[in-house]
C-alpha cells in the first residue's frame, strides 16, 4: 500500500516555545517530519512560533509561518494555504490541542482539511480518561481504580472510596501540569483545586495510589494495514510517583521476564488498535507491582512524545520519520530502515522491532538553583528542564556516563577521601522522598553500609539497580584500597564507567595523571555502533558510543574531518538555540566537503539525529570523553580541529583543555576566549579601544565588595565570574543587601571572585550578534530590549531592527563591536551586550561565541549566521561568503532595508511549574539571573503587529476588551496619557493606582482606583491589584517600575504585579515603548488586520 496520492499538501504544527515538559524533542520530531514530507514531493506548510528551531529554517518547509500557535492564527494560515491534511502528532501537546480546537470549532471541516497521524476520535479516546479506561478493560488490562471529578466535592467523595494517598490527574494538560499526590485533605484541596483550573475541561481524575510500583513505557508504531511494532521498552529506575520526565530511565527494560514483557506488549497492541491510532506512533505507560506483578495501564499519548525522541536515539529507529511516512499512507514493510543493510546492499524494512546490545540511561537535569524556595521534591508534576542520555555496554557504564553528562558538579558519584561522616539512618530517611540528587544519596547510604534490601524498602528502587550501585561502590572501594592502580583494576573501573576525574579523586591524583597512566597502559575506549539490530546486520550509519570493550567499529575515512561539540543537556540559559548553531555548522560543512563529526549527549536534539552529521558520537561533553573521540577520529583519518564556539558555555569551557592536549581549536582561540571572559584582560581591550564600560571591581570578601560598591555607588550588580545565564546575579541597592548576597555566596574566595558592577539604571539595553573574520565585521543584528536594563537578556523581549535607535547609534555600535572583535581576536561569532544610558554606550559584556539570539537574528534577517560562522572558522572570509551567496552581497544586519519586517522576541517563564514546599508560588521576580526556558518570535511589517503576535505566542492573545490595570512610574506618566486614552476609547475599563488614576482623570480618562499590594485587602474586602490579577479580573497589566529608588516599595510592587501577571498568564507591559506597541497591536487585532505571512513570502518581497 504505497503513499496516498490524494494528499498534496500537509500542514505541520510545531510545539511553540520551549517550556518544561515540552522541549526541543519536538523540533527533532517536526524537523524529521518536514524532511520526509518534502522528500515525498508534498507541499509542507509549517506553523511554529519558536524561531530557535531547525524546523523553522526556510529550507525545511515550502511555507514557514513563524506565527502564534493559537486557533485564530492557525486558521488564518489554513485559509491562506488550504492544505489537504493536518499532521498534529509531532508537535507535542501544543499541536494536538491546537488541532483539537480547530476540529471543534469547525475550521478543519470548513476548509476540508483531514487530520492525519491520529484522527480526532483517536486523540479523544486516548486522552479522555473514561473512554481510555474502557478500552484498557476491553483489551484485558487494568487501570488504577479512579473517579472522574469536576468539583472539589466530587474529589472528596472519591477519596472516601479510595483512601489516602490518591493521585490527582487533570485532563488534557501537558507534562503532567497540575497533577500531584495528595496525602491529606489539605493536599487534596490544593492539588485538585489547581488541577481543575489547569484542565481545559475542568476535569481531574482521583486515582488509587500505585506509588512505589515499577514503571515502564513502551513506544508503539502502527500503520494503516494494522501492522504494529514496539520500538523500545523503557524502565524507570525511580519507581511510580516521580514523573517520567524527572525519572532516571533505562532502555531496554532490565527487570522483566519475557512473559511479563510480552504481556505489556500485547496490551500495547490492543490499546493502540482500540484507540485507533492507525497511522503513527504513541507511547503507553504501565505500573507493575513488584510484589505480585499486577499490571496497571497508566496512560497513553496518541502522539510522538519526549519518550519517543529518547527511544529514537536509544534504538536508532527514527520514530518521527517513520510516523510521518505511515501518516501519508506507507506501510511499515514498505519503509526502509536506513541503518541496516542486507548483504545485497539494500535495506531491511522498518517493520521490525529494534534490539539493543547496550544499555541506555537517561538522567534529568533540574534547575532548582534558579528558583530558590521551590520545592525540590519530585512528584508526578514534571520539573526538570532538560536531560542527558548515555550509552554503555552495561548499566554501570551507561549510568556513570549519563551522570557526568549532566555537567553538574553534584551529579557524578564522588568517593573523595575527605567525605563527611555518613549516617546510614539519616540517609535512608532522606532517600525515601524522591528529590534532585537522590541517586547520589542512595550511593552514600550504601557507602554507609545500607544493604540493597534496605535501600529497596526505603525507595522501592528495584533491587537489581541497587545492586548495580553496590557494584559501583565495591569497585570504588577496590580502587581506594589497592596498593597500586594495576592495569586490571583500572580497566575494571573504566568498564563500569568511572571517569579519570573520579579515579583521580579517589587516588589523590589529577585527572591528567590518571589519563596519562591509562594511555601509557593502552587503556582506551572503543567505539561501538547503534544499529537497531544488535549486530545481526551490517550498519550503514556511523552512530557511535564509547565503551571499554575490545573491538572498535570506527571506519577509516579520507576526507578531512571537523569535530563539532554540542551543548549537552538543556538547562536554563543553554538550550535549543545552541543546538541550532551546531546543526547549521554540520549542514554547511558537509556541503563544503568536510566530514562532520558531532559530539553531544542530549537526546532531545536535532544534532543527535544520526543523519544530521556524517558521524555522531553520543558521548558526555567532558574533556576526557572528547579527547578520546578526537583520538579515535585521528586514527580514522585527518582531523582539522574542533569547533567549540557554537554549543554555548559547555564546549567553550573545554577549549583550553583540548588545546593544552594538542587539539586544534577552530575559530576563536582559547586565549581570545579568556581575554573576553576575564574581566581585567577585557577591561584592557576596552581601554585600548577607548570604549566605556560600567565601573566595576572584583571582590573576594565582603569588605572588598563594600569598598568597591562605595566607589561605584549603588545600585550595583553582583555576580560570580564565569557563568552562563546570569547564574547567581543580583542587583543590590544597599549595604545590607550586599552583605546578604556575599553571605549566601559560599564559594567566594580568591579562586571564585564576585564581580561588582555599576548598574546602569534607566538605560536601553542592546544585544548584538556579529561575525568577524579577522579583517571584516558582519553585523548580524542589533536587538533593542523592550524591558528596562537589569533584566537578563534571555528573559527580556527585544525587537529587531531596533525600534528607537537611529543610524548614528547603530554606527557607534558597529564601531565598538568591530573594535572589540579585533581587540579580543575573534574568529567567528561574537555577542556583545551594550547599555545606552544618557547617550553613553556602555559595553556590558562580550561573549566570543554563538549566542542564544543567533537563530532569532538569522530568522529575522534571513541570513544564516551560524553557517557563515562555521565557514569563517574554517578559513573563509566574509567577502568570500558574500560571493558564495551565504551572506548577502552587500550590507548586513546593521543596514537593513526600510521595508524590513520587525521581529519581536518574547521570553517564556516556567514559574507556574514551581511551588514552595508549603504550596505557595515561588518568587517570580525577574532580574539579572536568567529564568526563562524558551522564546517565541512575532514577525510582521510593523512593530505593533509583531508585538501582538509575540504576546499571543508567549502568553495568549492581547485582549481587545475588558479591564486594564495601569501603574506608571512618575517619569512615564506624561507618556501614558495618549495610549491609555486610546484603550479607554476602545471600551477598556481602566483600573489604576492612586497616583496614576489622578493623572489620568485630570486628562479626561476615567480610572477606578485599586489598592496596592502592600496596602493589603481593604476593610470591605476590596481586592488588591495582585488579587484582582490572580482572580482573573484583569485582562492586561501595564506597569512601568520606578527604577530609581533602591528597593522602594513601588519597585517591589511592580514585581509583585508582574509575578501575578505571569501566574495568571496575562500580558504585562513594563515599558512605555511596550505600551505604545501593545496599543498598536490591540488596534490591529480589533481591526482584524493582523495577517500571516510565510518566511518564504517575506523573502520574496
Amino acid at each position: 500500500m504505497p503513499k496516498r496520492e490524494d494528499i498534496k499538501s500537509v500542514m505541520v504544527i510545531g510545539s511553540g516555545p520551549i517550556i518544561i515538559g515540552q522541549a526541543c524533542e519536538f523540533d527533532y520530531s517536526g524537523t524529521q517530519a518536514c524532511r520526509v514530507l518534502k522528500a515525498e514531493g508534498i507541499r509542507v506548510i509549517l506553523v511554529n512560533s519558536n524561531p530557535a528551531t531547525i524546523m523553522t529554517d526556510p529550507e525545511f518547509a515550502d511555507a514557514t509561518y513563524i506565527e502564534p500557535i493559537t486557533p485564530d492564527f492557525v486558521e488564518k494560515v489554513i485559509a491562506k494555504e488550504r492544505p489537504d491534511a493536518l499532521l498534529p502528532t509531532l508537535g507535542g501537546q501544543t499541536a494536538l490541542n491546537a488541532a483539537i480546537a480547530l476540529h471543534e470549532n469547525g475550521v478543519l471541516e470548513k476548509y476540508g482539511v483531514e487530520m492525519i497521524g491520529a484522527s480526532f476520535d483517536a486523540i479523544h479516546r486516548g486522552e479522555n480518561r473514561q473512554l481510555f479506561n474502557a478500552i484498557v478493560d476491553k483489551v484485558g488490562g487494568e487501570v488504577a481504580r479512579s473517579f472522574v471529578c469536576h468539583t472539589l466535592d466530587d474529589c472528596e467523595k472519591a477519596v472516601a472510596e479510595l483512601g489516602y494517598p490518591v493521585v490527582v490527574r487533570p485532563s488534557f494538560t501537558m507534562g503532567g501540569t497540575g497533577s500531584g499526590i495528595a496525602y491529606s485533605e489539605d493536599d487534596l484541596a490544593r492539588i485538585a483545586g489547581a488541577g481543575l483550573s489547569a484542565s481545559p475541561t475542568t476535569e481531574v481524575l482521583i486515582e488509587e495510589s500505585i506509588i512505589g510500583w515499577k514503571e515502564y513505557e513502551l513506544e508503539v508504531m502502527r500503520d494503516k494495514a494494522d501492522n504494529v511494532v514496539i520500538i523500545c521498552s523503557i524502565e524507570n529506575l525511580d519507581p511510580m510517583g516521580v514523573h517520567t520526565g524527572d525519572s532516571i530511565t533505562v532502555a531496554p527494560a532490565m527487570t522483566l521476564t519475557d512473559r511479563e514483557y510480552q504481556h505489556l506488549r500485547d496490551l500495547a497492541i490492543g490499546i493502540i488498535r482500540e484507540v485507533g491510532v492507525d497511522t503513527g506512533g504513541c507511547n503507553i505507560q504501565y505500573a507493575v507491582n513488584p510484589a505480585d506483578g499486577r499490571v496497571i495501564v497508566i496512560e497513553m499519548n496518541p502522539r510522538v512524545s519526549r519518550s519517543s525522541a529518547l527511544a529514537s536515539k536509544a534504538t536508532g529507529f527514527p520514530i518521527a520519520k517513520i510516523a510521518a511516512k505511515v501518516a501519508i499512507g506507507y506501510t511499515l514493510d514498505e519503509i526502509p530502515n536506513d541503518i541496516t543493510m542486507r548483504s545485497d546492499g539494500s535495506s531491511t524494512p522498518a517493520a521490525f522491532e529494534p534490539t539493543l546490545d547496550y544499555v541506555v540511561v537517561k538522567v534529568p537535569r533540574f534547575a532548582f538553583e534558579k528558583f530558590p524556595g521551590a520545592d525540590p521534591r519530585l512528584t508526578t508534576h514534571m520539573k526538570s528542564v532538560g536531560e542527558a542520555m548515555a550509552i554503555g555496554r552495561n548499566f554501570t557504564e551507561a549510568l556513570q556516563k549519563a551522570l557526568r553528562s549532566l555537567e553538574s558538579k553534584d551529579a557524578a558519584f564522588d568517593w573523595h577521601q575527605e567525605w563527611v561522616e555518613l549516617d546510614k539512618d539519616a540517609l535512608l530517611a532522606e532517600i525515601e522522598v524522591p528529590h534532585d540528587g537522590r541517586l547520589k544519596k542512595v550511593m552514600d547510604a550504601l557507602r554507609a553500609g545500607a544493604t540493597a534490601d534496605e535501600v529497596f524498602d526505603h525507595t522501592k528502587i528495584d533491587p537489581w539497580y541497587v545492586d548495580q550501585l553496590l557494584l559501583i561502590n565495591e569497585i570504588a572501594e577496590e580502587v581506594t584500597a589497592a596498593p597500586e592502580l594495576t592495569p586490571e583494576l583500572l580497566r575494571k573501573a573504566k568498564r563500569h564507567g568511572f571517569s579519570d576525574v573520579q579515579i583521580g579523586k579517589i587516588r589523590g591524583m589529577s585527572a591528567d595523571v590518571v589519563r596519562g597512566v591509562r594511555h601509557a597502559l593502552g587503556i582506551r575506549p572503543v567505539y561501538k555502533t547503534v544499529d537497531t539490530c544488535a549486530a545481526e546486520f551490517a550498519a550503514a550509519t556511523p552512530y557511535h558510543y564509547s565503551s571499554y570493550d575490545e573491538e572498535s567499529e570506527v571506519a577509516p575515512r579520507e576526507r578531512p574531518a571537523v569535530i563539532i561539540l554540542g551543548s549537552g543537556p538543556n538547562r536554563i540559559g543553554q538550550g535549543i538555540e545552541f543546538d541550532y548553531s551546531c546543526v547549521h555548522a554540520a549542514l554547511t560543512l558537509s556541503e563544503a566537503g568536510y566530514e562532520t563529526i558531532m559530539v553531544n549527549c542530549n537526546p532531545e536534539t536535532v544534532s543527535t539525529d544520526y543523519d544530521t552529521s556524517d558521524r555522531l558520537y553520543f558521548e558526555p561533553l567532558t574533556l576526557e570523553d572528547v579527547l578520546e573521540v578526537v583520538h579515535a577520529e585521528e586514527q580514522a583519518g585527518p582531523v582539522l580541529g574542533v569547533i567549540c564556539q557554537l554549543g554555548g558555555q559547555t564546549p567553550l569551557g573545554l577549549a583550553q583543555g583540548l588545546k593544552d592536549n594538542g587539539v586544534t581549536i577552530l575559530g576563536t582561540s582559547p586565549e581570545a576566549i579568556h581575554l573576553a571572559e576575564e574581566r581585567g584582560a577585557f577591561g584592557r581591550v576596552l581601554a585600548d579601544a577607548v570604549l566605556p564600560a560600567p565601573k566595576y571591581g572584583m571582590a573576594t570578601s565582603f569588605p572588598d565588595a563594600h569598598r568597591i560598591a562605595a566607589e561605584i555607588g549603588y545600585p550595583v550588580m553582583v555576580r560570580p565570574s564565569y557563568v552562563l545565564g546570569g547564574r547567581g546575579m543580583e542587583i543590590v541597592y544597599d549595604d545590607a543587601a550586599l552583605e546578604g548576597y556575599i553571605g549566601r555566596s559560599t564559594e567566594i574566595g580568591p579562586a571564585h571572585p564576585v564581580l561588582v558592577d555599576r548598574f546602569i539604571d534607566d538605560a536601553v539595553e542592546i544585544d548584538v550578534d556579529a561575525l568577524y573574520d579577522g579583517e571584516e565585521l558582519f553585523l548580524g543584528g542589533v536587538m533593542e530590549h523592550i524591558e528596562e536594563a537589569g533584566i537578563h537578556s534571555g528573559d527580556s523581549s527585544c525587537a529587531l531592527p531596533p525600534i528607537t535607535l537611529g543610524k548614528a547609534e547603530i554606527d557607534r555600535i558597529r564601531t565598538a563591536t568591530e573594535a572589540i572583535a579585533r581587540g579580543v581576536g575573534v574568529h567567528g561569532l561574537l555577542n556583545i551586550q551594550f547599555a545606552l544610558g544618557s547617550d553613553v554606550l556602555y559595553v556590558l559584556e562580550a561573549n566570543p561565541r554563538a549566542s542564544r539570539t543567533v537563530p532569532f537574528v538569522s530568522k529575522a534577517t534571513a541570513t544564516p549566521l551560524a553557517k557563515a560562522a562555521a565557514r569563517v572558522m574554517l578559513g573563509e572570509s566574509i567577502a568570500e561568503l558574500r560571493a558564495a551567496g551565504v551572506l548577502p552581497m552587500t550590507g548586513d544586519g546593521g543596514t537593513l532595508p526600510a521595508d524590513q519586517p520587525i521581529a519581536v522576541k518574547e521570553a517564556v517563564m516556567p514559574f507556574n511549574r514551581f511551588r514552595s514546599p508549603d504550596g505557595k508560588q515561588v518568587d517570580t521576580v525577574l532580574g539579572p539571573e536568567m529564568k526563562s526556558t524558551g522564546e517565541v518570535m512575532g514577525f510582521d511589517a510593523d512593530f505593533g503587529s509583531a508585538f501582538a503576535k509575540a504576546q499571543a505566542g508567549a502568553f495568549g492573545p492581547l485582549p481587545t476588551s475588558g479591564k486594564v490595570f495601569v501603574s506608571m512610574a512618575n517619569r512615564d506618566k506624561r507618556h501614558m496619557i495618549f495610549p491609555i486614552k486610546v484603550l479607554a476609547d476602545h471600551g477598556f475599563e481602566i483600573l489604576a493606582t492612586q497616583g496614576t488614576a489622578e493623572v489620568l482623570r485630570r486628562n479626561g480618562v476615567q480610572a477606578t482606583v485599586v489598592r496596592k499590594h502592600y496596602e493589603g485587602e481593604g476593610p470591605n474586602g476590596e481586592k488588591t491589584t495582585v488579587q484582582l490579577i490572580l482572580d482573573g479580573d484583569i485582562q492586561l497589566v501595564i506597569n512601568t517600575p520606578n527604577g530609581s529608588a533602591s528597593g522602594s516599595s513601588a519597585r517591589l510592587d511592580g514585581y509583585e504585579i508582574r509575578t501575578a501577571a505571569i501566574m495568571a498568564n496575562i500580558p504585562c507591559i513594563t515599558t512605555v515603548q511596550g505600551l505604545g506597541a501593545a496599543v498598536q497591536g490591540i488596534e490591529a487585532l480589533e481591526r482584524g488586520e493582523i495577517g500571516v505571512r510565510s518566511l518564504q513570502d517575506w523573502a520574496r518581497r
Partner: protein, 378 residues
C-alpha cells in the same frame, strides 16, 4: 573468579571469566538477539549442541523459575554473556541463573566482547567453538575445537526427543486429538494447542506412521528441533505417509523443514541463521507483517513465487522473512484442478515460533488456523 577462554574454529580467541559450571565444552557458536527470554532459550531443545552468545549484555536479572521452562533441562552446549546478574530481581524468581547453569553442568564464559564475537559470526558464519575454564592455551583448545562434530549433517532430534509418549490433555472440552512428534518440542507448544481444546499426544521422534494412526488423530504436528534436516529420513517418510492419509498437518521450525523435504524441496544451512524475537515475517496471504520469534540455522529452498506440484497437492511459500527473503512458511493445498474442493488447505508449516516462548504473540493465530484446518473451515 576463574579465567576462561573461548576459541572459534578459525582461531579467534576471547578471554573472559568462567560463568556457570567450570570445565570445557564444544558446540556450534550462534548468537541470539532477544533482550528477554534467556530461560526459555536455554531450555529450548533446538539449541542442543549449540553454544549460544547472548547479544543483550545483562543476562540473569530475573533469575530462573519453574514456570518458564520450555523443557525439563537446559540444552545449550555452552553459554556466552557479557554481564551476568549478581542479584536476581523478580517476584517469580526461584533461583539464580548462575546456580542453575552450575547445577546442570553448563559451561559458560562472561565478560567478553559479545558484540565483537557476534560481528565475527555474522561476517564469517556460524562455526564451531570451544569454551574452557580448565585450558589456558588457546592453541590446545583450538585443536579440540577442530576435532569436535559439525552441525551440518548431524541428526540430533533423536537425542532430545521424549523416550516415551505422553498426553497433554485439552483445557476444557476436548475438541480434537493431535499426534505431535517430539523432535525437540517446547512446553508452550502443546499448551497453546491444549488451550484450544486439543488433546495432544506427544510421541517420540522414532514413532512410526502406525504409532500415529494408533492415536486416532485429527491432525499431525511436527515440532521444532535441533540438527540438519537433510540428515533426517525416518520422520520424512512418516510425514509422507500421513500426507498420503490426508491427515491435516501443522509444523513448526524443524517441522517446516521436514515438511519442505517431504514435499520434495531441498534445505540449506544459513550463514548465521535467525535467532531472536524481533524478526519481521510477512504472511503473503494477508500482506500483514508479524513480529516473530526465530531459532533456525537451516532453511527450506523453495521458489518464493508460484506453486509447485507435489504428489500430495500444490505447495507454495506462505510466509517470508522481510529481512532476507528466507522461506518462513509453506502451504499445501488440494490442486486447483482436482475434482473435490480445489484449493482446500491440507497442511501448513512455519519456520518460526508461533508458540512464542520467548517472543511476541503475533503469530498465535496459526494455532487457530490448525484448528480450522482440522475443522475443515479453512
Amino acid at each position: 573468579m576463574a579465567a576462561a577462554i573461548l576459541v572459534l574454529e578459525d582461531g579467534r580467541t576471547f578471554t573472559g571469566e568462567a560463568y556457570g559450571a567450570e570445565g570445557e565444552t564444544f558446540g556450534e557458536a550462534v548468537f541470539n538477539t532477544g533482550m528477554t527470554g534467556y530461560q526459555e532459550t536455554l531450555t529450548d531443545p533446538s539449541y542442543h549442541r549449540q553454544v549460544v552468545v547472548m547479544t543483550a549484555p545483562h543476562i540473569g536479572n530475573t533469575g530462573v523459575n519453574d514456570e518458564d521452562q520450555e523443557s525439563s533441562r537446559i540444552w545449550v552446549a555452552g553459554y556466552v554473556v557479557r554481564d551476568p546478574a549478581r542479584r536476581v530481581s523478580s517476584w517469580r524468581a526461584q533461583r539464580s541463573l548462575d546456580d542453575e547453569l552450575r547445577t546442570q553442568g553448563v559451561v559458560g564464559i562472561s565478560g567478553i566482547d559479545t558484540r565483537a564475537l557476534t560481528r565475527h559470526l555474522r561476517e564469517r558464519g556460524a562455526m564451531r567453538v570451544g569454551i574452557s575454564s580448565t585450558e589456558t592455551d588457546p592453541a590446545a583448545l583450538l585443536e579440540r575445537v577442530l576435532a569436535s562434530g559439525e552441525m551440518a549433517g548431524s541428526e540430533l532430534s533423536s537425542e532430545v526427543s521424549t523416550a516415551a509418549a505422553y498426553v497433554v490433555p485439552a483445557h476444557g472440552e476436548k475438541r480434537f486429538t493431535v499426534a505431535a512428534l517430539d523432535l525437540g518440542i517446547k512446553t508452550m507448544t502443546p499448551y497453546r494447542m491444549a488451550e484450544r481444546g486439543i488433546e495432544v499426544h506427544v510421541l517420540p521422534a522414532t514413532a512410526t506412521i502406525d504409532d500415529i494412526r494408533a492415536v486416532g488423530p485429527d491432525g499431525l504436528f511436527y515440532s521444532n528441533g535441533p540438527g540438519d534436516p537433510a540428515a533426517t529420513t525416518h520422520q520424512i517418510e512418516v510425514l509422507q505417509g500421513a500426507l498420503a492419509d490426508e491427515l491435516p498437518y501443522f509444523g513448526i521450525c524443524f517441522g517446516n523443514q521436514l515438511f519442505g523435504r517431504a514435499l520434495g524441496f531441498g534445505t540449506f544451512k544459513l550463514k548465521y541463521g535467525h535467532r531472536g524475537i524481533n524478526q519481521p515475517v510477512m504472511d503473503r496471504t494477508t500482506g500483514k507483517v508479524e513480529v516473530t520469534a526465530h531459532n533456525h540455522g537451516f532453511a527450506v529452498d523453495a521458489p518464493l513465487e508460484g506453486t509447485t506440484s507435489t504428489p500430495y497437492g500444490e505447495a507454495s511459500v506462505s510466509h517470508v522473512c522481510l529481512n532476507d527473503d528466507v522461506v518462513e512458511g509453506l502451504e499445501l493445498r488440494a490442486p486447483t484442478g482436482s475434482a473435490s474442493e480445489p484449493g482446500r488447505l491440507k497442511g501448513f508449516s512455519v519456520q518460526y515460533h508461533p508458540e512464542a516462548a520467548a517472543g511476541p504473540h503475533d503469530a498465535a493465530y496459526l494455532f487457530d488456523r490448525f484448528v480450522q484446518l482440522m475443522e475443515g473451515t479453512v
